[in-house]
């Protein structure tokens, strides 16, 4: 495994409370370089290394920025989604905590590229303790002229406002996040209108995840092409992964794409507690899919994981050892969605409720074949017809479990 620090390069290298400290390690060099470039050259650069939206949607980021630039409007918004609510996912927390100025610098570059006049950071309520850090960093940027009017004398204006959530997983969904920013309960709305055309306050909006943003300044300064040298195919560069569950050293790791799952779990995260065997691994948080230990030698890339029936998603990797049964794990996962569904569309609101009832019946050994059939049908209806991505993916885990562990789904079969 190559030891490469790219996104985590600045971690521990400067005093996060001081812009001078950041400047002393070359902070804002990327922005200074960016404003000498054509905005389209920057989005092309991002596209050339195939950066996929790191929040989980995997949308081509370079394309997103060039589309956002093409949208007409003189009051465009740039929003940073810092609402990482997926379970087993805390990589954005580390990026905010250890390198706040890089994130702000990235957003300023983003504003320059897409032509945004205002930026919002929407951070989950759980990270409220980092508000002072970000607010102070923003204040210092303003003092130094990196935010505000006529940035770097290049005649573009941009400022950032910080919004906080208050404990709602669904607010990570773009339209829900926007509703929350508008001062409402964060329930998703239908699309269209699409966010890029009519986002927060009906303004054209470009929305990216913390990790996606954070890549940009490093990429601009990567003259040797180190980033592009990692990975292959559509999986270029590095990825932040959060590993937790029954591992010895849970944490956030930056890995080059192509690192195997085994290397991540055993080398980086210290292996499974007490050397237990692995029951299952959930990739991408509560809305992710699961695999058994046969996935260990699969390289961590978008393509290979998909081939193995799972997805990168949020970058979370939850390792469950043999002490927990598949069914118990599914019930824990279901509790999450039973709590976090926004409740507005029928399949997700009612479907989660009934799937929980049937999983509980399974645990009691009382589930009938009809129950199992109904459960599968509800899961499919949820994924096919829910209003937003939450409902669509809420039963990913269950549906992949049905595929990987068919023996669990027997009538009366509690195990």
């Amino acid at each position: 495994m190559r030891d490469i620090k790219f996104l985590t390069k600045n971690f521990g290298k400067y005093d996060t409370s001081s812009i001078d400290s950041y400047l002393s390690i070359g902070g804002f060099d990327a922005l200074k370089k960016a404003v000498t470039m054509e905005p389209t050259a920057i989005s092309d650069l991002i596209a050339s290394v195939k950066v996929k939206g790191r929040g989980g949607a995997e949308y081509d980021m370079g394309r997103k920025w060039s589309q956002a630039r093409d949208v007409k409007g003189d009051n465009k918004l740039l929003i940073c989604n810092a609402d990482e609510g997926e379970t087993t996912t805390f990589k954005d927390r580390e990026l905010i905590k250890n390198d706040p100025f890089n994130l702000l610098e990235a957003m300023i570059i983003g504003a320059y590229v897409v032509g945004a006049v205002e930026g919002f950071i929407y951070m989950r309520g759980e990270y409220a303790c980092y508000r002072p850090l970000l607010l102070d960093a923003m204040r210092q940027c303003r003092e130094k002229g990196f935010l505000g009017k006529n940035i770097l004398g290049k005649g573009f204006d941009f400022d950032i406002k910080l919004y906080s959530g208050a404990g709602a997983y669904v607010c990570g969904e773009g339209t829900a996040l926007i509703r929350s920013i508008e001062g409402k309960a964060g329930r998703p709305r239908m699309k269209p209108p699409f966010i890029k055309v009519s986002g927060a306050f009906a303004r054209p909006t470009c929305l990216n995840n913390v990790e996606s943003f954070s890549i940009v300044p490093h990429l601009l300064l990567d003259e040797k092409g180190e980033y592009a040298s990692c990975g292959s195919g559509n999986s270029i560069g590095t990825k932040m992964v959060s590993v937790a569950g029954n591992v010895n050293r849970p944490g956030v790791f930056e890995i080059p794409f192509g690192t195997t799952v085994r290397e991540i779990i055993y080398d980086l995260a210290g292996g499974v507690q007490h050397n237990h065997g692995i029951r299952l691994i959930q990739f991408g948080g509560a809305s992710g899919k699961i695999a058994d230990a046969s996935i260990l030698d699969t390289p961590y890339t978008y393509e290979a994981l998909r081939g193995a029936g799972v997805m990168v998603g949020s970058g979370g990797i939850l390792v469950i050892d043999e002490r927990t049964s598949v069914l118990d794990f599914l019930r824990m996962n279901q509790d999450f969605f039973s709590e976090e569904s926004c409740g507005q569309c029928t399949p997700c609101r009612e479907g989660n409720l009934h799937i929980k009832i049937i999983l509980d019946k399974m645990a009691e050994g009382k589930a009938t074949e009809e129950d199992l059939r109904v459960m599968e049908k509800i899961a499919r209806v949820m994924s096919m017809s829910s209003l937003c991505g939450l409902g669509e993916t809420a039963q990913n885990t269950l549906m992949s479990a049905m595929r990987v562990f068919p023996e669990v789904f027997q009538a009366g079969g509690a195990r």
Binding site: R124, C129, G165, A166, G167, A185, A244, D321
Partner: protein, 168 residues
């Protein structure tokens, strides 16, 4: 019938001034309502947004009180009902729960020390034990969150006891 139930001023001058300061810090921007509510809620020892406070905010921010109520009931960290002074929140998501040895044991110790079960409040109204969705401290388990602060690596009875003693 349509008439009001109360005409007295239900908020003390002192509380109103505190709320006004929070509103001013957010430039009386109604779009910041979620964050305003988070801060206003903590003015109350029981960490909730009482009804008259919501009406006061609605008036000051010129938004319908129904929208504020929607927010209070929608966001997990906000409450319209009084809570304990120290609501002890234990993560209910798989990444913590699969660490049964740690998390379940921590819960048992908490229940034992406080002499309450999950979902109950101590007789003096100081502590409740409640569950919550993942708050992104999966790598710091076993952990609890109390009034927004995460207390991590609570892997012994002594550490948990010391934590409870520190909360006065």
């Amino acid at each position: 019938m349509l008439a009001a139930m109360t005409k007295e001023y239900p908020l003390s001058q002192e509380l109103r001034e505190k709320i006004d300061r929070i509103l001013d810090a957010h430039e009386r921007d109604y779009t910041q309502i979620v964050n305003i509510l988070m801060e206003v809620q903590d003015l109350n020892e029981k960490h909730y947004v009482p009804e008259p406070v919501a009406y006061y905010l609605a008036k000051k921010l010129e938004i319908p009180v129904a929208r504020i109520f929607d927010c209070i009931t929608f966001y997990g960290q906000l409450s319209e009902k009084p809570r304990a002074k120290y609501p002890i929140q234990v993560c209910n998501s798989p990444s913590c729960r699969v660490n049964a040895v740690n998390t379940v044991q921590m819960l048992e110790i908490l229940e034992d020390l406080l002499d309450i079960k999950l979902g109950e409040t101590t007789y003096d109204g100081r502590f409740t034990i409640e569950t919550t969705s993942c708050y992104g401290a999966c790598d710091r388990a076993p952990a609890v969150r109390i009034n927004g602060k995460v207390y991590d690596h609570l892997d012994s009875r002594e550490k948990i006891e010391a934590l409870l003693r520190s909360l006065q």
